[in-house]
């Protein structure tokens, strides 16, 4: 009898233990994945960057899943190609939220593709971390918007301030400036900021015009600028026009003290390869360069992983411009989820407003409008670039930093017509 009771007790205890362990493990295994949705430019004009950003975000997803995921759930992405077409964006986000029922959404790449998502996001009070949107929240004033690009609290002004600070290092100090940019959203904002900064620095604006984005020959634009004889030439451009303007400046033999500006594309390996020595003397905008003064914990390890896969994926082989920030955007979201311990949109937004995030692009603290509290675009002057081999940019010295001052790693060479020969 005692023996029978013991056996029964043993059986019950065994079942209880098996149940606890077994059901427990089944429950962990069956935890649904945490699904993050976004649209991304995988085709169209911004696809080169969009695909690079997506690869960076995939690397983050693999890294976080290797650590056990978020809230004990594996992270999955639900993505759609927005085709660099702003009109598709509202539909994509509506589908992600209403039909795919993702847990969270983040943005695709770029101002033009972030802004159209905003009404959909705001209607549902979602927390929205975005990638490289210039002043998107200026008109929306949405309190749950957070942007990952180091423009500073006033993006339009912060983005171009560094260029003017760098230009004013010229001796004698410049007194006049020509402003030119493409007819598109980003250049328009950059030019708006440039006008404010030029005024702040006491520069007289002698040329202020825009050009259509599909311009083929930029030589007439450069000649028209040269006719006004400015000390500084500021250009706000997308990659194709960045190449066109620099080529035209070399062909026309532009004579000015400082030439450059908010020229997107200079950070891309393809543009660096294309322009090669034509880059010399240009004061341009970069987000990461391997200069000794700039060390973000984890960025080199990330770039090693990224560069190892970039060629196979057919994206930017250096990955200095957008990819670290794509990874950092996900780090911000991941850290907030872990610290808050839930997916409560309000709590996530509160946490993001109140805390500083350690990321592969350095510390990020958000201002009330969701921009970085302190901006940090890098303005560099290309020097000693020889040939078109992109490997030379993996080492320090080819793009010394002129601004910000705490990261400065070289002295400005002027005038441009002399600097471009070095």
């Amino acid at each position: 009898m005692l023996h029978g009771n013991f056996r029964r007790s043993l059986l019950i205890a065994s079942l209880a233990i098996m149940g606890a362990v077994g059901f427990g493990s089944v429950s962990a295994q069956e935890k649904p994945p945490l699904r993050i949705g976004f649209g991304m430019a995988e085709t169209g004009a911004m696809a080169a960057n969009g695909k690079a950003a997506k690869l960076a975000m995939e690397i983050w997803r693999e890294d976080i899943n290797a650590k056990g995921g978020l809230l004990g759930r594996k992270v999955e992405f639900v993505t759609y190609d927005d085709q660099t077409n702003p009109s598709l964006v509202p539909g994509i986000y509506t589908k992600l939220i209403e039909s795919d029922k993702v847990d969270l959404v983040v943005s695709g790449y770029g101002t033009n593709l972030i802004a159209p998502a905003m009404p959909t996001i705001m209607q549902r009070n979602l927390t929205f971390v975005s990638l490289f949107g210039t002043a998107v929240n200026q008109k929306f004033n949405y309190p749950r918007y957070f942007q990952v690009m180091p423009n500073g609290e006033d993006p339009a002004v912060g983005l171009t301030y560094g260029f003017f600070e760098a230009a004013m290092q010229a001796s004698p100090k410049p007194t006049t400036v020509a402003l030119v940019g493409g007819d598109a959203e980003y250049p328009a904002l950059a030019l708006e900021g440039a006008r404010i900064n030029a005024k702040k620095m006491g520069l007289k604006i002698v040329y202020d015009k825009t050009y259509p984005p599909n311009t083929t020959d930029y030589a007439p634009v450069i000649r028209a600028i040269q006719a006004t004889n400015p000390d500084v030439v500021f250009v706000a451009s997308y990659p194709p026009d960045t190449v066109g303007m620099i080529r035209a400046a070399n062909e026309v033999g532009l004579k000015t003290k400082v030439f450059g500006g908010g020229m997107i594309g200079l950070g891309f390996a393809a543009v660096k390869k294309q322009l090669g020595p034509l880059l010399n003397g240009v004061v341009g905008f970069e987000l990461y360069v391997p200069e000794p003064t700039i060390k973000f914990p984890g960025v080199e390890a990330f770039l090693k992983k990224y560069q190892g896969r970039a060629e196979k994926e057919g994206v930017d082989p250096l990955g200095f411009y957008l990819p670290p920030y794509g990874y950092a955007m996900m780090e911000v979201l991941g850290t907030a989820i872990e610290k808050v311990g839930s997916l409560d949109q309000g709590k996530l937004a509160d946490y993001m407003h109140k805390n500083t995030f350690k990321t592969v692009v350095g510390d990020i603290t958000f201002a009330n409008n969701g921009e970085w509290k302190v901006g940090r675009p890098l303005y560099v002057q290309y020097k000693g670039v020889q040939g078109n081999d992109i490997d030379q940019f993996r080492k320090p010295g080819k793009a010394p930093i002129m601004f910000p001052k705490d990261l400065k790693s070289g002295e400005l060479r002027t005038p441009y017509e002399e600097a471009r020969k070095q």
Partner: protein, 292 residues
């Protein structure tokens, strides 16, 4: 702004060179749209395909992109021939009247080309640096970039050769005839489908040469062709449908208008001036400046 003589002269020359390049892009459309009445909206995408293949030949074998363009030409000619046969079977056979579906067909080709380029070459910008890409030559006060001068010379040369062939050869006269009266041509014992296939192949030949020129002028990405759709059709209409000399001159008028506007009024006005010219032409001379 003061209008100096140097600035004016440079603006005119820049515009002429630009127009020469635009003519190379539009030549194929002038043949397919102007002569064969085929709205090949995918022509600029084929230009980009030509640009990528020229780039690839340059990367792999170091062949000059322009030479690569001419080497690829016969292949594009054959592909064009096949595309036209398919187009004819589906949309023209039995009296036609299905031009909207034909337009959708070429839209489909446009998207397929873009997707193939993305899958094969990725989405990064591609370009070719040749020994002459960044060099310039000066004629007095006028400075000209080789990357625009060489396409200009080749474009004008190609156009003159094709124009001569259309006027002096049996094939050329047959193409002109098929554009005017295919039934009469058939009654003369000539197969209009075959002739139109060859002519469409020729239009694709010019697309690949145009693409080879494009890749030395600026970097390209798979969807770059979309930016040229409006421009090439505007040039063909402005110059006169199917009039090859008109295409060249129309392209130069738009090129000079664009360059002068960019220099003296502000570059953002350039498209307005160009398309304003087109509108005025359509109002006062609907057959194009130089007629059909």
């Amino acid at each position: 702004m003061d209008i100096s003589f140097d600035l004016l002269l440079n603006a005119i020359f820049s515009g002429l060179l630009l127009g020469g390049f635009y003519a190379a892009l539009s030549l194929g459309v002038s043949i397919s749209f102007g002569m064969l009445d085929i709205v090949n909206i995918a022509h600029p995408a084929m230009v980009i395909l030509g640009a990528y293949l020229s780039w690839w030949l340059n990367e792999k074998f170091g062949i000059d992109p322009i030479l690569a363009g001419f080497l690829l030409g016969p292949f594009f000619f054959l592909v064009g021939n096949l595309i036209y046969r398919l187009y004819y079977d589906r949309f023209e056979k039995g009296g036609g009247g299905d031009s909207l579906r034909g337009l959708a067909f070429f839209f489909g080709i446009l998207f397929i080309i873009e997707m193939i380029l993305i899958l094969a070459f990725g989405v990064d910008y591609r370009n070719v640096n040749t020994s002459y890409t960044d060099k310039t030559i000066s004629f007095g006060v006028v400075t000209v970039a080789y990357r625009l001068l060489i396409p200009f010379v080749i474009s004008v040369g190609l156009l003159l050769v094709i124009r001569w062939a259309f006027k002096k050869t049996y094939f050329g006269r047959a193409v002109s005839a098929v554009a005017q009266d295919p039934l009469a041509l058939q009654l003369m014992g000539v197969n209009p489908v075959k002739i139109k296939g060859y002519a469409f192949g020729l239009s694709l030949f010019t697309a690949v040469v145009g693409g080879a020129m494009l890749i030395i002028i600026q970097s390209v990405q798979p969807s770059a062709g979309r930016e040229y759709i409006g421009l090439v059709f505007a040039i063909v209409v402005l110059g006169g449908m199917g009039n090859l000399t008109g295409t060249l001159l129309g392209a130069m008028i738009l090129g000079v208008a664009e360059s002068m506007t960019a220099t003296f009024a502000g570059p953002s006005w350039a498209p307005a001036v160009s398309f304003g010219l087109l509108l005025l032409t359509l109002v006062f001379r609907p057959q194009g400046i130089f007629g059909k």
